[in-house]
């Protein structure tokens, strides 16, 4: 029997894979040929290890049994599509969206044929702004890797190691390499060339495959495409072509990565991290300098900063003037973490955000990638035309019946607000009759996010999850939840109708949306 994913003749089946903490969606749109749907794959990745915290098992030591490996997931995608994707979309360059594509030997996707590929304009090699941003990202990443190396050499205590761990989690997202690889010679030898990171290789593999067939397209906000075979329109909401919105700092956070040549830039944290310790520059004239590495007892540094590792006076009532716990030798490198976090947000905001509009009913499926606030608030800048009518973001959001919740349902990635507000927010979605079908998909493995990260990642953030429960009446798919909870106020028939369109399997959820008027 064929394992092909066949949607209903009047609609689309959205398959949400349960591969781990990360995104992987297979969409099958009905075409005129019922045996040959149009297959779209959006992202394929996960945070390593998260796959083993999805399926509860009271007998297992962790409380969970191991989940299927990404190889099995990709094989399943192959089986479901006849090893042929009509369209592959990668929303943005983060590990948890694309590490299921490439590996050094036998790339996961080697047997999949890909006709076309869509990326955000930020990937476009002919776009000047995109090139600038990518170059900067590369420089920053290299700088951070260097800072990390210093931190490894210095940070011997628990506090330092914890910080290093947090930095590594962020670097892992940016490069696609697993933490374990960072310290190894191999990593620094091969991936010193960031252009060969796991993430880059994944993107390249998709591009190579698509280029050999139907080609690659880089989408700009305000663009419109049509999936002709199923007459589905696709509206491009983001990412914005605005550097400030991409970084989305409060208000702007590029000081760590200055890109002009002013002399002060030699005094940034990364500048120091990327200079050998003996060659670092100080902003003050040499006549003021005082060596802190050697001084004799009775001299200022020995008395008030100290050199010994042991705290001579730990058993006294008063703290010693030269107590080792008050020193700050590597505190400056801790800034790497906040820089990495900025970098991370910047990349999240380059997420390609797409609204798929079904032709007959006008229902909209919104795939928001990992868009955070800066991406969201840029959406209304775009409008489209349909005949004489103007199509707006507000109106498209109003017709949304499926929302792929941005960034694992985290803080700052779904905006709250009122219908009347000027910026897009949850209240804009699914208004009027569309509310009765509104469904959300959350790609999060909560236990893993909370326990394997420090500080814990609150994915999903309870306040957003609750707002979504309210708005969807319980129609929520979440990677690690095999059952649904109906909101008490929802009538049983409506709930049953939802359940009849939802399928729960160990490896995935299927959700059917009929292209019929509500």
């Amino acid at each position: 029997m064929s394992k092909l994913l066949i949607p209903p003749t009047d609609g689309v089946t959205v398959r949400m894979y349960r591969q781990g903490h990360g995104d992987c969606f297979l969409l099958a749109f009905a075409t005129d040929n019922p045996a040959k749907p149009y297959y779209v794959l959006i992202d394929c990745g996960l945070k390593p290890g998260s796959q083993d915290f999805i399926h509860p098992s009271p007998t297992a030591e962790t409380g969970f049994r191991k989940g299927p490996k990404i190889e099995e997931i990709v094989k399943h995608i192959g089986d479901s599509t006849g090893n042929h994707l009509d369209l592959m979309i990668v929303t943005h360059e983060h590990q948890d969206h694309l590490n299921g594509i490439w590996k050094k030997t036998k790339p996961y996707f080697q047997n999949l044929a890909i006709d076309k590929a869509w990326f955000a304009w930020t990937e476009d090699p002919d776009d000047e702004l995109a090139n600038t941003l990518r170059q900067r990202h590369k420089d920053q990443l290299l700088g951070l890797l260097e800072a990390r190396k210093q931190l490894v050499a210095l940070a011997a205590d628990d506090d330092g190691l914890r910080r290093l761990n947090r930095l590594d989690s962020l670097l892992e997202l940016e490069t696609g390499s697993e933490k374990a690889a960072f310290g190894t010679e191999d990593f620094f030898a091969a991936d010193k060339d960031i252009t060969r990171s796991v993430n880059k290789q994944g993107l390249k593999l998709i591009k190579d495959k698509a280029a050999a067939h139907g080609g690659i397209e880089y989408l700009m906000p305000g663009d419109e495409r049509e999936i002709a075979a199923s007459r589905t329109k696709v509206y491009v909401f983001g990412p914005p072509r605005d550097e400030d919105l991409l970084t989305d700092e409060d208000p702007r956070g590029t000081e760590a990565f200055p890109d002009d040549d002013s002399p002060a830039n030699g005094f940034s944290m990364l500048a120091a991290a990327n200079t050998a310790p003996g060659d670092r520059k100080s902003p003050f004239d040499a006549r003021f300098h005082l060596s802190f590495s050697d001084s004799k007892p009775g001299q200022f540094v020995a008395d008030y900063y100290g050199h010994d590792e042991s705290d001579e006076q730990a058993d006294k009532a008063e703290v010693a003037a030269d107590a080792p716990w008050r020193r700050i030798d590597h505190e400056w490198l801790y800034s790497a973490e906040s820089l990495a976090l900025q970098l991370n947000t910047g990349i999240n905001n380059t997420s390609l955000v797409l609204a798929f509009e079904l032709p007959r009913s006008g229902k909209v499926l919104l795939f928001a990638g990992d868009a955070q606030r800066g991406n969201w608030i840029s959406w209304p800048q775009n409008t489209w035309r349909s005949g004489d009518e103007e199509v707006t973001v507000r109106e498209l959001l109003g017709r949304t019946v499926l929302y792929k919740v941005a960034h694992h349902c985290s803080h700052n990635a779904t905006l709250a607000g009122q219908t009347a507000d000027e910026y897009p927010n949850l209240s804009w979605m699914a208004t009027g009759k569309y509310a009765s079908e509104f469904t959300a998909m959350i790609t999060a493995v909560n236990k893993w996010a909370l326990t394997k990260n420090n500080p814990p990642w609150r994915h999903p953030l309870p306040s957003i999850r609750r707002a979504l429960e309210e708005k969807t009446s319980g129609r929520i798919f979440q990677t690690d939840q095999a059952a649904f909870t109906r909101k008490a106020t929802l009538p049983a028939p409506a709930w049953d109708a939802f359940l009849s369109r939802a399928t729960v399997e160990e490896m995935y959820f299927d959700y059917v949306i009929h292209d019929t008027a509500l």
Binding site: M269, P283, L290, F292, Y304, R326, H330, W332, S335
Partner: protein
């Protein structure tokens, strides 16, 4: 032959008025530096290293340190210290020292006692030890970041520096910005350190106000310190023609920092900010905005706005006569500059009002509950402290605080109206009478109740017999610390071992000492009795209604209980026995407790300041649980828990720096 001359009372040191940015604008260049008079420290060493502060100028990112300044060098003594300079690190050392000492003096004057830094608390084996920290350490060039923070773990302030990149008209790209040259950032961070020295557990986040309060309080101190500099004050009064409700440097914090990071204006402004068109606009009080604001800095700015508004209301009413005199009764000033005499008179009023408001706010920190502070509690603390310190005054200052806080939507959770009498924390007598009255058959003022009250007081008196501590404000701080530290243990013993009055006191203080019928999750000793921690015993100065000044004690006591993110798990664990839970640490710690003010001479309990519930209060625990689990409210246009980085980091302050000037968003 020694000179027969006393040392001077103060040392004069130059600083940048706010930060180096004023010097580059013609309008403000005349006020870009001022001279501070700070208390003369006899034994000041190079660093400077004094009694309270040690400046250690190590710049690890540059691989070097900078030679310490010697402020006793005659060449410097003769010219009020080094001239303000961005390129001389020794001036940086001088400025952090001068501003930090000024902030410390404000605290000492308001609280009437010597300032202490937080103890270093560490574990040796199973035993906790407290070490006395004589000096706060200041590293003027510790990090290369657009940030600065007080690190409770190191008992040190780490200042950062960074190249500015904003491309607006205020800033030359590539300017190196030193946070240690910002008066406001120094005052802000020193305040964090001083507060850590007052309340050791004060910063544990259990509601959205806790971190916000710390930020706000530090901003309030920095802001009102502006008004103590006459040159600046007069220039700004003149510029605003006496209308302090318009944009001025007085209500703004960290100009250069704000501009260099692309804000186009100061980092924070108690009065308003730039609107969409880039024009400065005053912010109107909004009683609803508090509910919608969760991030610590934003939420804190509401408290700052409320306090600043209280100041403005007082200033307005106190200067109405001056404006009438100056305008022949119309109150409408003519066009042009105001008369220099009027400027001076207005400045004097503004300085007096600001000083009073700052003192009220600082004094209030002795009147806060030991944990779980809310803005509403702070209002009650301000009102009570002011009643105790200025009992004879009719209270217009207290009323404007209540008015302004109400306009910003800040109310205490625990009261049903905002009368001054309702807001004041209860006295020991109030609570004793309530306790007796709640018992059957007791009539107020009858012989039984009189004898019970007398017995209770006698019991308290027993504590002070033999525990008198001799010290005064001139004593060596370490000696004072050594005499106060054992009192903590004695208090603990007094609460633990005692006759039936002990239980009465427990009820008055909101403590639970009886282990029966108490959830198993409450921390116990080996006998199953709930444990109490006595955190701090410290003296505070008070004034009687007849104007004489005397000293009272403040004691802080807390209890703790294991909390679980899962409400069902909480119920399950509550129902176990305490032995079963011995090794269990819970997901977070729930604390409750009280702050008590006692007059050692009369053994009166002057005030009792309790947290909202006792340690057995499940509703309170549920509220904290929801907050810690991130189930609260919405922030601006983003869903947010308001918790910033603190979830799950309940015990280890090493893991993050809660007092950073700026926080980045968590994932």
């Amino acid at each position: 032959m020694p000179y027969l001359v006393d040392p001077p009372a103060s040392r004069r040191l130059r600083i940048f008025t706010f930060d180096p940015s004023l010097a580059t604008v013609l309008e403000t260049s005349s006020i870009n530096q001022i001279v501070l008079s700070i208390p003369w420290e006899k034994g000041l060493l190079q660093g400077p290293v004094g009694e309270y502060i040690e400046v250690v100028d190590y710049d690890p990112a540059s691989g070097t340190g900078y030679a310490p300044v010697d402020l006793n060098d005659p060449n410097l003594l003769a010219r009020d210290g080094l001239l303000p300079s961005e390129s001389n690190p020794q001036f940086h050392q001088q400025m952090v020292y001068a501003v930090a000492m000024t902030t410390i003096s404000h605290f000492e004057r308001a609280l009437g006692r010597v300032a202490f830094w937080g103890d270093r608390r560490f574990k040796v084996g199973n035993e906790y030890r407290n070490q006395f920290v004589r000096r706060l350490r200041i590293y003027p060039h510790a990090i290369r970041d657009r940030n600065a923070y007080y690190s409770p773990a190191k008992k040190a302030i780490l200042f950062g520096y960074f190249p500015a990149t904003s491309r607006d008209r205020h800033t030359m790209p590539g300017t190196l910005v030193y946070t240690c040259l910002s008066h406001d950032i120094i005052a802000h961070e020193v305040t964090h350190a001083l507060l850590d020295g007052v309340h050791p557990r004060f910063n544990e986040p259990s509601n959205p106000d806790v971190h916000a309060f710390h930020e706000a309080f530090a901003d309030i101190v920095a802001l009102f310190q502006h008004f103590s500099y006459p040159v600046v004050l007069e220039s700004q009064i003149s510029k605003t023609r006496g209308n302090l409700e318009s944009e001025s440097l007085l209500s703004q914090l960290a100009q250069q920092f704000g501009q260099a990071t692309g804000r186009g204006t100061a980092l924070r402004d108690a009065l308003g900010g730039l609107n969409k068109a880039g024009k400065w606009e005053a912010r109107q009080p909004d009683p609803l905005v508090l509910q919608k604001t969760m991030s610590p800095h934003d939420r804190g700015s509401i408290l700052v706005a409320a306090v600043f508004r209280a100041f403005l209301l007082i200033y307005r009413s106190r200067t109405a006569d001056l404006f009438r005199i100056a305008t022949g009764g119309s109150g409408a000033l003519p066009e042009g500059e105001i008369h220099p005499d009027l400027t001076r008179r207005l400045s004097r009023e503004a300085a007096a009002c600001a000083d009073r408001v700052l003192q009220m706010c600082i004094r209030a920190i002795d009147y806060c509950p030991p944990v779980d502070i809310t803005f509403g509690d702070f209002l009650r603390a301000i009102v009570t402290a002011d009643i105790d310190y200025m009992p004879e005054e009719e209270g217009s200052f207290r009323i404007v605080f209540i008015e302004s806080f109400r306009e910003w939507g800040i109310y205490p959770r625990s009261v049903t109206n905002l009368g001054i009498e309702t807001l004041a924390w209860p006295t020991g007598d109030d609570l004793m009478e309530n306790l007796l009255a709640s018992r059957q058959g007791v009539v107020r003022g009858d012989d039984f109740s009189k004898s019970e009250m007398a017995g209770q007081k006698l019991y308290l008196k027993s504590f002070f017999t033999g525990n008198a501590v001799e010290w005064n404000l001139e004593s060596d701080r370490f000696e004072v610390w050594k005499s106060l530290d054992p009192l903590r243990f004695k208090w603990w013993k007094w609460l633990y071992e005692g006759d039936h009055y002990k239980n009465d006191y427990a009820m008055i203080f909101g403590l639970v000492l009886d282990g029966s019928n108490t959830p198993a999750t409450v921390y116990r000793d080996e006998h199953g009795n709930p444990t109490v921690e006595v955190h701090a015993v410290r003296p505070t100065i008070r004034r009687t209604s007849r104007g004489s000044i005397y000293t009272a004690y403040i004691v802080e006591i807390t209890q703790r209980r294991r909390g679980y993110f899962d409400a069902e798990e909480q119920k399950r664990k509550d129902a176990l026995t305490f032995e079963q839970l011995k090794a269990d640490r819970g997901d977070f710690i729930f604390r409750s407790g009280c702050t008590i003010l006692i007059d050692p001479a009369t053994q009166e309990i002057l005030r009792v300041i309790r947290t909202c519930g006792t340690i057995t209060d499940n509703a309170e625990l549920e509220r904290v649980r929801k907050f810690k689990a991130g189930e609260l409210a919405v922030n601006g246009n983003a869903f947010d828990s308001g918790l910033a980085l603190s979830l799950g980091i309940t015990s280890n302050s090493l893991q993050n720096e809660p007092f950073a000037l700026l926080h980045s968003d968590p994932l």
